[in-house]
C-alpha cells in the first residue's frame, strides 16, 4: 500500500504542499551509510511535537507564534530516555496534543525502543532524545546555525549511530 500523503490534510492546503521548495544548498540527495549492525547500534529519537519536561524545563514559546504566525520557536529540549514519572508538556498549536500527552509513544516511542533493545533488534537507546517545535520557515537561520549543530553535538557526544525523526 502506498500512503496518500494528503489523506488527512485540509483540501485547500494541498496546493501548498504539492511542489515544496527545496532549501538552497539542499538540492542533492544525501546518504550517510549506517555502519554498525543494528543489534549493536545506539538509536536516538527526535520529535517535532514541542515536548518539554513539565516540572524541569521551560515550554516552547507559543506566545511568540501567536504574536507572529509566521514564526516558530527554533529552540530544542533534551529529554531523558527514561520518562516514567516525568510528565511532558506539549507546546504545539498545529495539532491536538491530547493523544501524545496520553501516551508519549505516539510521537516519541521510547518504550517501544526499549522493547526492540530487549528483543535484541537494537543495541541500545540513546541516553537522551530531543524535541523541537518543527514550525520553522521563518526561523530557518537560527534553526540551521544553532539548533541543528547543537543537536548534532549532543548525538555525537552520546555515540548515537542513527536517529529516528518524527514530525507531527
Amino acid at each position: 500500500m502506498l500512503v496518500d500523503s494528503y489523506r488527512f490534510l485540509p483540501k485547500s492546503f494541498i496546493p501548498l504542499y504539492e511542489n515544496p521548495a527545496r532549501i538552497e544548498g539542499e538540492d542533492q540527495p544525501i546518504l550517510t551509510p549506517f555502519a554498525p549492525r543494528l543489534a549493536d547500534a545506539t538509536i536516538g529519537l527526535l520529535s517535532s511535537a514541542g515536548l518539554s519536561l513539565s516540572s524541569e524545563q521551560a515550554p516552547f514559546d507559543l506566545d511568540g507564534e501567536r504574536a507572529n504566525p509566521m514564526w516558530g520557536d527554533p529552540g530544542y529540549r533534551v529529554l531523558p530516555h527514561e520518562l516514567a514519572g516525568r510528565p511532558l508538556t506539549m507546546s504545539h498549536l498545529h495539532v491536538n496534543p491530547a493523544d501524545i500527552i496520553a501516551d508519549h509513544n505516539v510521537a516519541l516511542p521510547s518504550d517501544r525502543l526499549d522493547e526492540l533493545v530487549a528483543a535484541g533488534r537494537v543495541g541500545r537507546a540513546a541516553p537522551h532524545h530531543t524535541s523541537v517545535m518543527g514550525y520553522q520557515e521563518a526561523g530557518l537561520a537560527a534553526w540551521r546555525n544553532e539548533t541543528a549543530p547543537a543537536i548534532v553535538e549532543l548525538l555525537r557526544s552520546e555515540g548515537v549511530d542513527g536517529v529516528v525523526l518524527a514530525p507531527v
Binding site: M1, L2, V3, S5, F8, K11, S12, F13, Y17, P20, R22, I23, E26, Q28, P29, I30, L31, T32, F34, L38, A41, I43, L46, A49, R66, N68, P69, M70, L93, H94, V95, N96, P97, D99, A102, N105, A107, P109, R112, L113, L116, V122, V132, Y135, W143, R144, T147, A148, I151, V152, L155, R156, D161, G162, V163, V164, L165, A166, P167, V168
Partner: protein, 113 residues
Amino acid sequence: MLARRIEAAGIPTVVVTMMPLTATQLLAPRVVGVEFPFGHPFGQPGDVDTQRLVLETAVTVLAGAAEPVTRVDIDREWPQPRGEAYRAWQPAEPSPIVALLLNRQGRGSEDRR
C-alpha cells in the same frame, strides 16, 4: 530540513511521516510513510503493536537503505473513519498561520469538517 542537516554531519537518519511524498520531494535520506492523522506518527495511544511496527520498520530502513531518498510505506489502516480522525487531529482553535490563511481566503469553516 533537520534530517538532512544531521545526515550531512555524518549521522544516519530516517523520517517517519504522514506526508512521505513531501519528504521525498525535499530529499529526506530515508522515509517511512504512515497514513495516520497528523500528531500520530507512531499510531494511537496504547496501540503498542502499531507503535512497535512503525518503529521497527523505521530502524530497519535506517540500517538497511542502500540508496538516498529510500521510501517505505507502512501497510496499516487508521482504525477510525477518516472524517472522525480528521476532526480529532485538529487543535481546538486553528493555529495562528491557519487562521491567517483562512482569513485571507475568506473561508472560516470549509476545512474544519
